[in-house]
């Protein structure tokens, strides 16, 4: 899903280097990004750490906006992915540090702590794999609207409202919006199922 028009406008302004643009983009996106990272981190996550990493993602984006490619993803999606990745990395480091402390204080807990670190590392790798697979799946759609819808489907986005904006249906009556969203989602899901079958085959 590529950037929406409002995101693209904000991104262009940040790219121009205007100092106020940074504050504008942070103010506009901060809470969406925090919510997204918290959602990705799941229930029982370290909420303070997740919010901190969401903030880091935004601050670093505004410093180096050239790293973001508006053709490849929506700005919010990109920032949530970066924030979540930072969160997972920080969590992993924290657990590694804890494992080292266990090893100094209580050798019997070393194995358990190391297993915990390994689990987090495996989850990290799985996340990266999932992210890459998602990008590959989306790349098989030609229509930008289908790409956007596929990204939402792959994120397990429920309901019809989130699809309205990305499909450009906001000017239609609600019933037509629902019908069109249902039609596009069905088509995209079928195609994704076929593509997943392809990617699940040994390459």
């Amino acid at each position: 899903m590529s950037a929406s028009s409002d995101e693209l406008a904000m991104h262009q302004r940040v790219l121009s280097g205007h100092p106020v643009a940074r504050a504008e983009v942070i103010t506009a996106l901060y809470f969406d990004v925090v919510e997204g990272v918290l959602r990705q981190a799941g229930t029982g996550c370290d909420a303070a750490l997740a919010e901190e990493k969401a903030g880091d993602a935004l601050l670093q984006y505004a410093e180096n906006p050239g790293r973001y490619d508006p053709e490849r993803s929506a700005l919010r999606t990109y920032l949530i992915l970066v924030g979540h990745s930072k969160y997972r990395t920080a969590l992993w480091r924290e657990r590694q540090r804890a494992a080292r402390q266990y090893s100094l204080s209580n050798p019997q807990t070393v194995a358990a702590a190391e297993r915990a670190s390994a689990d987090v590392m495996e989850e990290l790798v799985a996340d990266i794999d999932a992210s890459q697979l998602k990008a590959r799946l989306i790349s098989h759609f030609d229509d930008p609207r289908d790409k956007a819808a596929a990204a939402l489907v792959l994120d397990d986005t429920q309901g019809w409202e989130p699809y309205v904006d990305v499909l450009g249906l906001s000017s239609l009556p609600v019933e037509q919006q629902k019908a069109e969203v249902y039609r596009v989602k069905s088509r995209v899901k079928k195609r994704l199922q076929r593509l997943r079958g392809y990617f699940d085959e040994p390459q």
Binding site: P19, R22, I26, E35, L38, A48, E51, D56, L58, L59
Partner: protein, 141 residues
């Protein structure tokens, strides 16, 4: 913590994070507060803005080098409802102190986030000799 339910207008946490980033105004504000032992309320009084607007100010980037420097300071100040001359003085004071601490002449610095202050000083030197005193001795407004 759920930002949805708690306080959707509270950007103070990310403003605090920005203090660690030298390319944000937050970094300069934090440095000035530390040097002058100012709390947020006192800083707001100095900059002649609302306390709540310090967050907006903190999240701005530093002004770009000349020829945009003066306009950028003006726009940042307008965005945060602050006095542009006070803001310019604060930024230049922080930069001058940092240069002194590092034993570096500001003119010789090349890092991008240092350039605006040098550019501003060069510009003012060129405009008039009336403002050549150190930042702390300048008149504002």
């Amino acid at each position: 913590m759920n930002p949805n339910n708690s306080d959707r207008t509270d950007l103070s946490r990310i403003a605090r994070l920005a203090r660690a980033h030298p390319t944000y105004v937050a970094h300069a504000l934090a440095q000035y507060q530390q040097d002058e032992a100012l709390d947020d309320a006192a800083l707001a009084v100095y900059l002649q803005c609302e306390d709540s607007m310090l967050v907006r100010l903190a999240l701005c980037g530093l002004p770009r080098p000349a020829p945009q420097f003066a306009d950028d300071v003006q726009e940042i100040a307008t965005y945060a409802g602050a006095n542009p001359m006070r803001l310019m003085r604060l930024l230049r004071t922080v930069e001058a102190r940092r240069a002194l601490q590092e034993g570096i002449e500001p003119r010789q610095q090349t890092r991008e986030h240092d350039l605006p202050f040098v550019a501003a000083r060069d510009r003012e030197d060129g405009d008039s000799g009336a403002r050549k005193a150190s930042p702390d001795t300048q008149q504002d407004d």
